[in-house]
């Protein structure tokens, strides 16, 4: 096999991993949101407009992780590969792993607060604006690690690599992908849980919205720290080549 063939093979493999894994999380998160919206509608059928609107906005945010996976897959499939080093093949596999795996947790994590917001609007229709705002902040922050995965994937895609094959740089690029990918799963779900409980607490006691937002952000920042360790290690691995 020639170098070009290896790169082509890695790009299709990476694209499959990227969009395939990313689809898991986004779909679970969106399904959870829709389920909770159904539950809320079953006892508040007259709020159908508000709840459907919140459900769609929440699902669109949860979909972001899946869309990132699709974008990386398309960039992998349609990038020009002539005259590139054989190492590019390994970088492409790393990019697919980084984006795909890290999107699993973030899709689920962004769906959790969205579902609870639908439920909360059923409980407290008067504060639907505050609940939607808190949900958007919480889901947005829960996606941070998928964004770090996206960053690492873009770095791996566009890195200028030395010609020729060596096993250490090759493995460090796949390692960067694995590191950011697996490191992104847990923080995504954990931050989603923090946001979910904050939204549900505001739905119980709307007066605490300011305190809940700050506490949620501090908790999310702490639970994101393992994702940031992964980001640092992945950056070190990518930049060491």
């Amino acid at each position: 096999m020639t170098g070009i063939e290896w790169i082509k093979a890695a790009s299709v493999l990476g694209a499959g991993m990227s969009v395939g894994f990313a689809a898991i999380g986004a779909a679970v998160g969106e399904g959870y949101t829709a389920g909770k919206a159904n539950e809320a509608l079953s006892f508040r059928p007259n709020l159908v407009g508000d709840i459907l609107k919140t459900m769609l906005v929440g699902q669109a945010v949860a979909e972001t992780a899946g869309i990132f996976g699709l974008v990386i897959a398309m960039l992998l499939l349609f990038s020009p590969i002539e005259g590139k080093s054989v190492l590019t093949a390994w970088a492409y596999m790393g990019a697919g792993l980084s984006m795909g795996l890290s999107a699993i947790g973030c899709g689920i994590g962004a769906g959790l607060p969205a579902g609870t917001a639908c439920q909360g609007i059923g409980r407290q229709p008067m504060v639907s604006g505050q609940l939607s705002t808190l949900m958007l902040i919480g889901s947005g922050v829960a996606q941070s690690t998928a964004i770090y995965g996206f960053l690492i994937a873009l770095l791996l895609l566009y890195k200028q690599l030395p010609m020729g094959m060596a096993i250490v740089p090759a493995c460090s690029m796949v390692g960067a992908g694995l590191c950011m990918g697996f490191g992104g799963i847990g923080p995504g779900i954990g931050e989603g849980m923090a946001a979910m409980e904050a939204v549900s607490a505001v739905a119980r006691n709307p007066l605490t919205v300011g305190l809940m937002t700050r506490t949620m952000l501090v908790g999310q920042a702490v639970s994101e720290s393992t994702g940031i360790y992964s980001l640092v290690v992945a950056l070190l691995l990518v930049l060491s080549v």
Binding site: A60, L70, S79, S144, L151
Partner: protein
């Protein structure tokens, strides 16, 4: 497919360095700014008790965003920083929506725009944090819970800028790449308008709001 990731650049040699300007982004940013100025002028020129349509839109935006800012920052700081939040939101929404007009490109599609806005929020929030809490209490937040955590707290603050700007950039650039690739695959039949409506109008508005709210919340965390 050659358009994927291509940028029009103007490179000027400057004392041995190359200054690079992304012309398209600069021009589109100026177009967005002039539309906003025109909107502001038209909405406020003929003020009346019975408002015109533009005045209604302007009042709605300003009232909602002022209320959100005052909720987060309190009465006094809220009044001071609400114009910033209003301007940020209106600029981002228009930047994200302008891509649905043929031949126009979103300025937020280029990483430079979201990153500079993220840095703006970063500097404002830390400046306000030092100003309201004092330098001692501000620095003490970094050695929380114990001293060895300091490097990670600093990295965490920088990572906030990365995540806030890449979120906007990834969504808008991702949307435009998906529209480009799918339009190419279906020979520009039927699908592209729906994709533009979803990625341009819907996702664009949500991401502009998320960016604005996160900037506001990061400021609020530093202040309190």
């Amino acid at each position: 497919m050659e358009e994927l990731g291509r940028i029009h650049q103007l490179i000027i040699p400057f004392f041995g360095h190359d200054l690079t300007f992304n012309l398209e982004v600069i021009i589109m940013t100026w177009i967005v700014i002039s539309i906003l100025l025109l909107f502001g002028f038209l909405a406020s020129s003929k003020k009346g008790v019975i408002p015109g349509p533009l005045q209604v839109v302007g009042e709605l935006l300003v009232a909602q965003l002022f209320a959100l800012t005052e909720d987060a920052l309190g009465e006094e700081l809220g009044k001071k920083y609400a114009p910033l939040i209003c301007a940020l939101f209106m600029f981002l929404v228009l930047s994200n929506w302008i891509g649905i007009v043929p031949m126009m490109h979103e300025p937020t599609k280029d990483l430079n725009t979201p990153l500079s806005l993220g840095l703006l929020g970063f500097f404002i929030s830390h400046y306000l944090g030092i100003k309201t809490k004092g330098i001692k209490a501000y620095l003490k937040a970094y050695v929380d819970p114990f001293f060895f955590m300091m490097p990670l707290n600093v990295i965490g603050e920088v990572a906030k800028v990365v995540s806030i700007s890449f979120r906007l950039f990834g969504n808008i650039m991702g949307g435009s790449i998906i529209i480009l690739v799918i339009s190419y695959l279906v020979y520009n039949l039927i699908l592209p308008p729906f994709l533009n409506a979803f990625f341009g109008v819907f996702v664009g508005a949500i991401q502009a709001f998320v960016f604005t709210m996160l900037t506001l919340v990061y400021i609020a965390v530093q202040v309190k």
